[in-house]
Symmetry: D2
Subunit: 375 residues, 4 copies
C-alpha cells in the first residue's frame, strides 16, 4: 500500500460492532502484512469514564465523551462510526465536513432522507466512505461473485434470500421502548439491508417489490406485568424484481427459534446454482453442468487459500475464518480505498440504493401493492 504515513483512527462506540471495529484496527496490519499499523488515536464513548476504560482495554491512546470534538480532531484521519443507528447520519456528516474518511456501520440511518444527506455529504467531502457490510467480504461470497461474473452458473434468473435469528423469539421478553418508540425498527429495517447488500454485490439491486410484515406477538408484558401493544414487526417477506431482470423471494425473521446467524442465499441460473448459509460461513455450495450428468451434484467448497484473502489468515484450507475476520478484510478494503486503490466496498452511494430498496418494501407493506424502487 502506498500511504505515506500511518492513518490515525477515531472510534465511536464500543458495543457489538464497535468492539468489532477495534479488533479489526488492531489486526489489519499484522494480518495483511502490507499496510502500516494504524494509529489508534481516539476513542469515543457516552461519557469520559467509560471512554477512558474502553480506550485502555481496546488499545486507543486517547479518549473522550464528546464525539463532536472527536470527529473534528485534527489528529484524526478516519472515523469508525459504530454508535446506534440513529446517530449515524449526524456523526457521519460531521466527520465528512471535517474532511475525515468514514467507516460507518449499517444500516445508514433510520430515515431515507438522512441517508440521502449522508450520500450528499460524502460526495461533497471527497473523502472515502465505507459502510460496514462485512458479509460481502467473506472469501466465499467473493468466490460467488467471481463465479457469477464468469458465467459459471449462467444467467441468474431466480434468487431467494433469508435472514433469521431468534433474539426476539421469546414471547416472554419484556416490553421496552424499542418495541414502539421512535427508534423502534422491525426485522425489515434491522435485517433487510444484509441480504440486499449481498444481492447487490452478487446479482443486482431491487427494482420493484411487494412486501408484507407480521408480528408473532401483538403484545408483550412490561416490567409490571402489564400487556403492552407492540408496534414493531419481527417478521417480513417480499417478492422482488431485480434490475438485472431476474426475480426473487425475500424473508427475514428475528423471532425464528433455533436460527442464530442464518443468512441463506439461493441463486439459480441457466447453467447452475449456488447455495450459501452464513451459519457455515466457510462453505459454499455450487452446482454446475460440467462432466458426466450422472455425477452432477452440489459441491461443498470449503474456503481456503485459493479464495483470497483467506490466505492472509491461514495458509491451509478448511481451517475456518470467523465473523471478526470478515471485519479485518473490510478494514483492509477501507485502507485500499483511502490509498486510492480499487476496493471491494459498499460506499454511501451504493448503500443508498439498498436503503431505497428497503424504503420500497416498507411502502409496499403499507400500500398492500407493488412499489417501484426510486433510485
Amino acid at each position: 500500500m502506498t500511504t505515506g504515513k500511518d492513518l490515525s483512527v477515531c472510534l465511536i462506540g464500543t458495543g457489538y460492532m464497535g468492539k468489532c471495529h477495534a479488533l479489526a484496527w488492531n489486526a489489519v496490519a499484522p494480518t495483511f502484512e502490507d499496510v502500516p499499523r494504524p494509529r489508534l488515536e481516539l476513542l469515543v464513548e457516552v461519557n469520559e469514564q467509560l471512554a477512558a476504560r474502553r480506550a485502555n482495554e481496546l488499545g486507543f491512546a486517547r479518549s473522550t465523551g464528546d464525539w463532536r470534538s472527536a470527529v473534528a480532531d485534527p489528529n484524526v484521519d478516519v472515523v469508525s462510526i459504530a454508535s446506534p443507528t440513529w446517530f449515524h447520519a449526524e456523526m457521519a456528516i460531521a466527520a465528512l465536513a471535517s474532511g475525515k474518511h468514514v467507516w460507518c456501520e449499517k444500516p445508514m440511518s433510520l430515515k431515507l432522507s438522512d441517508s440521502e444527506k449522508m450520500a450528499d455529504a460524502a460526495a461533497k467531502a471527497g473523502t472515502k466512505v465505507v459502510l460496514g457490510y462485512n458479509y460481502i467480504q467473506n472469501p466465499a461470497i467473493r468466490l460467488m461473485k467471481k463465479l457469477i461474473q464468469e458465467g459459471e452458473i449462467g444467467e441468474v434468473n431466480h434468487v431467494r434470500v433469508e435472514m433469521d435469528e431468534d433474539y426476539m423469539a421469546d414471547p416472554d421478553t419484556p416490553y421496552n421502548s424499542f418495541f414502539s418508540g421512535p427508534q423502534a425498527g422491525g426485522a425489515l429495517e434491522e435485517f433487510g439491508v444484509h441480504p440486499l447488500s449481498l444481492l447487490q454485490v452478487l446479482v443486482g439491486d431491487v427494482a420493484a417489490a411487494c412486501a408484507d410484515q407480521w408480528k408473532p406477538y401483538a403484545t408483550r408484558h412490561d416490567a409490571d406485568g402489564v400487556n403492552q401493544p407492540v408496534a414493531t414487526h419481527d417478521i417480513a417477506g417480499a417478492l422482488l424484481r431485480l434490475d438485472n431482470g431476474s426475480a426473487g423471494v425475500f424473508a427475514v425473521n428475528r423471532a425464528a427459534w433455533g436460527r442464530k446467524g442464518r443468512l441463506v442465499i439461493q441463486l439459480y441460473g441457466s447453467r447452475g446454482s449456488i447455495y450459501y448459509d452464513q451459519e457455515r460461513l466457510n462453505e459454499m455450495r455450487l452446482y454446475t453442468l460440467s462432466g458426466d450428468p450422472a455425477l452432477h451434484g452440489y459441491r461443498k467448497i470449503l474456503s481456503g487459500p485459493l479464495h483470497p484473502p483467506y490466505q492472509k489468515f491461514v495458509p491451509t484450507p478448511g481451517h475456518g475464518l470467523g465473523f471478526n475476520d470478515l471485519k479485518v478484510i473490510e478494514c483492509r478494503e477501507l485502507l485500499r480505498a483511502i490509498a486510492g486503490e480499487p476496493a471491494h466496498v459498499i460506499d454511501f452511494n451504493k448503500g443508498l440504493r439498498i436503503e431505497r430498496s428497503i424504503d420500497a418494501l416498507a411502502r409496499s407493506v403499507k400500500s398492500r401493492a407493488w412499489e417501484q424502487v426510486i433510485q
Copy 2:
C-alpha cells in the same frame, strides 16, 4: 380391517404415478398385514395392446383401452385415476356416478370449475375419494403434525415452503406444446398444490395471497431450431396469509438446477421450530426450548418404529423409507376410509380448498394485488 370381501381395483394409467399406484396395490396387504389382498382386476391404458402388456407386467387380471366401460364395470369397487391431469375430472365424475370409490392423483384438474364439479360428484356419490397427496403420509410429516397439535413448538406464527426440481432448467430443452398449449401449466399449477397440501395438514389453509411468477427462458427453440415464445412460467413466488392467523412465504421452481425433489418446509412457532427437506424424507429437524439453553439446537430425528406406520416397513429405525412406500401408506389410508374408519387423507373437499388457494395465487399474478381465497 373390517371389509368383508377383497376390494376389486381398476387402475387407469401406468406412467409415473400409475405405476406407483400399481406398486402400492401390490404391496399394501403384505406390508400392513391387516388388510385382505386387493384384487387387481382391470387395467386401463390408451389402447388395448398397451393395456394388455401393462396388465401383465403390473399384475392385473384384465385390461382394456376403454376407460368409460372400465369405470362402470360391475366387478370394480375402486378406481385409481393416474391419467394426465386434464382427464381427472371426467374420469372421476364417471367413476363416482357408477358408485365407485376413487383414488385420484393431484392436482384435481386444470380448471377450478372442474374441481368443484368433482367435489359435488363425490358428495352425491357418497363413496370414498382420496387424492394422491402421498407426501402427507410420510411418518416424518405425521410426526410434525402431532408435535404441532400437541403444542411442542407453540403457536405457529411464520411458515416458509419451497418446492424445487430441475427438469425444466435446461434452456436447450426443445419447445413443445406443453409450453403454450391449452394443457400447459407452470410451476404454480404443477407444483403449488404440494406445499399447500402440507401446509393444510400441518398449519392451515391459505386465506389470502399475493403472488408473482417468472419465466427463466422467454423462448425455446423448436425441433426445427426456430425460437418459439413460451407461455408457461417455471418459477413462482407468493406471500401468504393463512387462516390460522399466521403468515408465510412460498416459492416454487421447476427450473432450479441441482434440485431434484426439494420440498422444504420451515415452521416457526412461539416455542420452537421445525425444518424438513423432502430430499431427505426420513429426517426432520426440531428445535424446542426444553432443557439447558446452552444445549439447545436443531435435533435431527430419523424416522423409525416410534413414528407410525414406519414399523410396518422396517422394525429398526434409521433404515429408510422410500418415495413409493408413502404411496403404500396412502393406499392403506384409502382402505381405512372405505372401511368407514378415520383416515388421514385429503378428500375432494379438502383438495378443493387447495385448488381454490392456487386459484387465488393465479388471480394475484394477474391483478398484481393481494387476492382473497374464496372457500
Copy 3:
C-alpha cells in the same frame, strides 16, 4: 428375462428379514416389469398356525410348520431362508440337496466350518445361491463401484468402514440368553459382514487384520434384578490390510447411542475420494480433481434414473428409495442369476471369503496379534 415359467417360491421365516423377502417377492415383477410374477407357493414358520396366518398376510398360497418337507417340496423352485442365523446352514444345505435355488440371509452361519459346508453344498448342487447382502444393491453403491472401476478416484489406498446402531446401548436392557448363550454373538459377528461385503464389492477382500473388541457393560441385570456377566462384545475395531494392497480401519458398535442405521464408508484414492453414510442411502459424496482447484469440493450426488436400477422405482431423481427397495433389486438379481444371466450378487463362495475375514478378526481378538485371512 428368459425363464420359461414362473418361479415357485418357498419362504422360511417372517420376522425382520423374512417379511422383507416377502415384500420383495411381491414387488419384483411389477417393479421391474420384465420378469414373470413369481408364484408365492409355500410359507414356513415355527408352527402351522403362525405359518397359516403369515401366509395369508404375506400372500403365500400354502403354509407349513415343517421346514424340512418344505425345502424338499417338488413344487418349490427357490427357497428364501430368513430364519435365525443358526438355522441357515442346515436349511440351505437341505434345500440345495433337493436341487433348489437358495436365497439366504447373512451372515451365512455362526461357525466357519458350517459356512464352508454351505459353499460345498452349493458347488455340488449347481443351483443358484445368493446371500442377502442387500446393501450392495443400492444404486449409490453400484455407482461407487462403477466409479472405482473406471478409475474416477484413482487407485484406492485407504479405506475406513464403520457400522453403528444403538439397540444394545441401553445399560438397562435386561440380560437374556443372547448375551452369553451358544447363539450369542457380538458386534463383530453380527455387524462385521456388512461393511466387509461393501469392501469386497468396492475394493477387495481382507488379507490380514488386527482386531480388538470391548464390552460397554460387563454385566446386565436379569429379570430378577440380579447382575449377570455378559459374554458378548457390543463394540469392535480392527486394522485391515486388503488384498488390493490398500489398508484400512474398521469399527462396529451396536451400543452407539444415536446411531440407527449408520454404515459409513470412506474410500481414499490417488485421484479422489468417496464418502457414504447409509442413514442417507440416496446420497453419495464424491471428490475428484476435475476442473478449477478453487472449485474442488465433495459433491453430493442424489440417486436418480441415471443410476440403475433406480429408474425402475421412480422416474424422477432425488425422490428416494427405501431399505426395502434394495431387497427388491436383490430379488431381481437372484432371478437374473437363475436365468443364467450375469448378476450382481454375493454367492456362497464370495460370502465365504467374508466369513473367513471375520474369522481372522475373531482370531486376532484372542491372539492379540495380526492374523492372516486364510482363503
Copy 4:
C-alpha cells in the same frame, strides 16, 4: 488479571503458526479486555533482514537473527516458539534456563528423549509452559468437556478419532528431503498429537495401542523426474485402550483427497454420544436420552455466548469463530497461567503424556503387536 506489569514477548518464527502467535499477541488484550496489552518486544527470524521486515509487519519493536541471544534477553518475559519442530527442544530449554515463560508449538519435538528433557527443564525452571494445542480451546470442545464431566452422556465407553487433510494426496508432488531425511515425519508424527490432545482433555490418555501405517505412494519423482523411494507414511491407524477403561479407534491421513481440516471425534457413552468435525468448528452434535424417545436425535449446537469464551469475540450466537480465534483464547490461558490462575492448557507434563502415546503407536508399528504406553 492480576499481573502488575505488561508482559514482554519474544516470538521465534513467523511462518504458519508464528504468524498465528503474532495475531494472538496483537488481539488478546482488546478481545478479552481484562488483560494489559503485552509488549511485542522482539522478533526472531532466520536472518536479520527477514526478522526486521517481519517485526515491522507483525508489530514487534525489535528484531534479530540470533535466537540464542533473544531467549536470554533480559527485556523478554515470555518466548513464543513457532520454529520448525526440530528446534523446539533446544530453544525451549534455553528459554527456560533463562527463566522465561514458554509458549511452544506442538509436537514438542521429534524425539521422545528431547520431549522428556523439555519437561525436565520446565520442572526446574518453575516458569509457565504452554503447548500450542489450540484446538482444545474451542468453546465447542470446552462444552464437550463440561458435558462429559457432568455425566451428560454417561460413562464414555468408545471413542473414535480421525484427522485428515490432503496436502500430501497428490502423487505428483515432487520428492524432497522431507520424504526421507532425518527431519522426515509421517502422519503419525505430524498429526497424531492433535486427536490425542483432544482425547486427553475429554476422556483420558492412551494406555496401550496397536498401530499400523501405510504409504499411498511408495515412490515420488524428484525434480529431475527420477523416482525416489519415500520413507514417510502419510496414513496411519490404531486401536487404542485408554486409561479410563474405554477403547477406541484412531486414523490419520494427510493424503486424504477432499479433506482440508477434518478432525472428527466420536464419543459414545452409556447415556448419549457426541460428534464433532473441526471443518465445522462452531458446531457440535449431542445425543442424549432426555424427553420423549420418539424425539431423540442428534442436536446441532451452534457455538454462542453461552459457551465461554465465545462471548468475548461476538455477543450473538451462531456468528462463528475462526481458527485464529482459538489461538487468542490459548494466549489468554497462557496469561492466566502466568498470573498464577487456573488455566485450561496442556503444559509440558501433559504434552509428554501425548508424546509417549505417539511413541507407543510408533513402537507398535514396528513390533506388529500391542504396546503399552510408558508414562
